[in-house]
């Protein structure tokens, strides 16, 4: 294809040259460039196509070329009607009878297409929409399929700063959103995230912070919400200090989640890597009781993320007998102080959340042979995740549903009196109430009882923050600002006990609000970019893997011997194979 640029003065000289070389006229195209139009005349010379290009203003009229090429009259008439350009001196002029266009507005030249506009392509995949922190799940899965774990690691940190930890403990709402779970199993996003972190030799990246702003921010509490806020505020250029009550950072991840789910060296390595990248100062062993003292030290803003630590009471007789432990104290002792309390042979765990399952599996590892979890509702209403319950069953924990404790009789062994429950009528929100069956009680004899019915929030009174009836901090719904100016709150202290990824979401929202308060622009909104990360498409059935890659775990007999990590994650080939199963719902094919 040959291109000749010309203008109105020289066009006839060029046309005569083409005519002398026996070129044949093909057609005329007009492109709209905004203020100008570009007119292209196409000719055929030999076997090649020659384009003669000319730019003209929209109001000027063009000279007709029918003097040289008389066959162009049809194309010129058509161009005159389609594009509203004026052509003067047309050899054969049909007075505009060629193409009738009715009701065309000034910006559209032709009648618009009848019907609705074509639908917009889906921006986020369903997996990404379900994640509270909007981690770009389709993108990092594609990067792992291409063999780029470092890129995947960076993608995850854009939205959530703890990939190695989330790859072990997250309850993965993204997997619930995967479209593959109607016929096969959903894509194992969590294990792919873990692979992206494990495949790197060092978790510390080489990234730059933004320009220092000179503002100082204090974060009270070193749990997942505090770590997130500290990291993002540090990357935005602020001077951040984290105050943590215990000797190590991590919050509920450190104190509640057992070591066989999250090894302590990985927790430490990742949190320290993030703090080093963002230039965050960490002060452990410091308990903050008064926020005004922090303001006097020169901080411009404070983020309170102290978490939920107070244990809830069962409100039954005999609750304080010896041998009745609380889940919070029990897990603290095992995880933080590295003690091995003696529980005896039979243990009863009361409760149905992840804390109860953690306590039960820990009790198994400490030597108890007969561990039973008692839950007052049925299996479907249990708040613990399916994976946890299944892992507990594999390790030998028994479950007893529809039993609620009424009384504990002290002694050696302890006697616990339970009452059978049955499912009652649903209330107006659709949930069933559980009512006791009169006269049906049973007695269980155990050596230890562990209460694991949840935690409550307790914020020190001296902070001066407004709290609601349950003790949770009251905040503005959009900016997470509290009743005191300059103080934000988030995480478990604000919502009650939730999961790690929900706390990370709170940390992000608070970061945006604090940054805007200090004069910045906040964190960027999650977006898509067209044309990025092209990957081998795999929608045809012969290349798509339909079967999930099974995750490797420790053999069952080895698990309860120690606190070693139970899940072993993917290696490189397994990760690539699993990532290739993705249907790429966000990618419009």
């Amino acid at each position: 294809m040959q291109e000749i640029l010309t203008d109105k003065a020289n066009i006839f000289a060029e046309l005569d040259k083409l005519r002398a070389e026996d070129a044949r006229f093909i057609t005329i195209t007009v492109l709209d460039l905004g203020a100008q139009l570009e007119v292209i005349y196409h000719f055929e010379k030999g076997k090649d196509v020659v384009n003669l290009k000319m730019k003209t203003d929209k109001e000027e009229s063009l000279p007709s070329i029918t003097g040289v090429y008389s066959a162009a009259f049809i194309a010129e008439n058509e161009a005159q009607d389609l594009f509203n350009i004026k052509i003067s001196g047309l050899n054969v002029d049909y007075g505009g009878r060629m193409l009738k266009v009715e009701s065309a507005s000034a910006t559209t030249l032709l009648k618009p297409v009848v019907g609705e506009c074509p639908p917009i392509m889906r921006v986020f995949g369903r997996c990404r929409e379900k994640c509270p922190a909007m981690v770009n799940a389709p993108k990092y899965v594609r990067q792992i399929a291409l063999g780029d774990p470092e890129g995947a690691y960076n993608t995850i940190i854009e939205q959530a700063p703890l990939p190695a930890i989330l790859g072990r403990v997250c309850f993965a709402p993204c997997e619930d959103g995967c479209r593959q779970d109607k016929n096969e199993k959903p894509l194992q996003n969590r294990l792919l995230k873990r692979y992206a972190a494990d495949a790197l030799s060092s978790l510390k990246r080489d990234v730059k912070r933004m320009e220092p702003t000179g503002k100082k921010v204090a974060v009270v509490g070193g749990g997942p919400s505090g770590i997130t806020a500290a990291f993002y505020l540090g990357m935005l250029g602020h001077n951040v200090t984290v105050y943590e009550k215990m000797e190590r950072c991590g919050g509920a991840m450190f104190a509640f989640i057992p070591k066989y789910r999250l090894p302590r060296n990985i927790l430490e390595a990742e949190v320290m890597a993030r703090f080093e990248e963002a230039g965050v100062k960490l002060e452990t062993g410091v308990e903050i009781t008064n926020l005004d003292a922090l303001f006097k030290k020169g901080f411009d803003a404070i983020y309170v993320a102290t978490g939920a630590w107070k244990s809830m009471r069962l409100m039954i007789e005999g609750e304080d007998s010896p041998g009745v432990l609380d889940c919070v104290d029990f897990l603290f002792a095992v995880n933080v102080r590295n003690e091995r309390p003696k529980l005896g042979g039979r243990v009863a765990v009361i409760g149905g959340g992840n804390g109860a399952v953690d306590a039960a599996r820990t009790a198994k590892r400490l030597g108890s042979k007969d561990v039973t979890i008692f839950y007052r509702r049925s299996r479907e209403e249990m708040p613990a995740t399916m994976e946890q319950v299944q892992a507990a069953m594999e390790e030998g924990v028994s479950f007893r549903f529809l039993g609620s404790p009424v009384k504990i009789i002290p002694g050696k062994p302890l006697k616990v009196i339970f009452q059978n429950m049955r499912m009652g009528e649903p209330d107006e929100s659709g949930r069933h109430k559980f009512v006791p069956i009169e006269g049906s009680e049973f007695v269980v004899e155990v050596d230890t009882v562990i209460k694991a019915i949840g935690q409550a929030v307790e914020v020190p009174k001296d902070f001066g923050l407004r709290v609601d009836k349950a003790g949770r901090i009251v905040v503005n719904e959009e900016t997470y600002e509290t009743s005191v100016q300059g103080v934000w709150a988030g995480g478990d202290a604000m919502t009650g006990p939730t999961s790690v990824i929900d706390c990370i979401k709170d940390g992000r929202i608070a970061t945006s609000a604090i940054d805007k308060y200090l004069g910045g622009k906040g964190l960027p909104q999650p977006s898509i970019d067209l044309g990025e990360l092209v990957c081998k498409p795999s929608k045809s059935p012969e290349i798509l893997e339909r079967m999930p890659v099974p995750a490797r775990v420790l053999p069952i007999v080895d698990r309860i011997e120690s606190f070693n990590e139970v899940e072993l994650g993917f290696n490189k080939e397994e990760a690539a194979k699993e990532a290739n199963r993705c249907w790429r719902c966000d990618w419009n094919e």
């Binding site: 019907g115 639908p119 889906r122 479209r179 109607k182 016929n183 719902c585």
Partner: protein
């Protein structure tokens, strides 16, 4: 001219080339593109078929869990059948018969 006459005479005695539809129906060839049916047990309301359809004949309402298909806008091109990942669109060999009013087929699902 004489050559044509022999042909005309020969075709007087051969079988006619036409089929006397509607009294005799011809056998449909398998693989012919006809109307489609939605299997709502497998559909997960992902709107891939809506995006691919060239004549905008499929409308999906994910909040109301409903799929609307207008067979009189359909071109029978079967691009939707190829693009459904759950294989929830079933093709048929006959085309929808004409009607006096424009009808829209509504398919509803209860799950999710």
């Amino acid at each position: 001219m004489p050559k044509m006459l022999t042909k005309v005479l020969k075709s007087l005695f051969t079988k006619p080339a036409t089929v006397r539809y509607p009294y005799v129906k011809p056998e449909p060839i398998p693989g012919t593109r006809g109307k489609i049916l939605f299997d709502m047990k497998k559909c997960d309301l992902c709107q891939d078929c809506e995006r691919v359809c060239p004549s905008l004949a499929i409308k999906v309402f994910p909040d109301e869990k409903r799929v609307e298909y207008s067979p009189f806008r359909c071109l029978y091109c079967h691009l939707c059948v190829e693009s459904c990942m759950q294989m929830a669109i079933i093709p048929d060999v006959v085309v929808r018969a004409p009607e006096f009013e424009k009808i829209i087929d509504i398919f509803e699902t209860e799950r999710r």
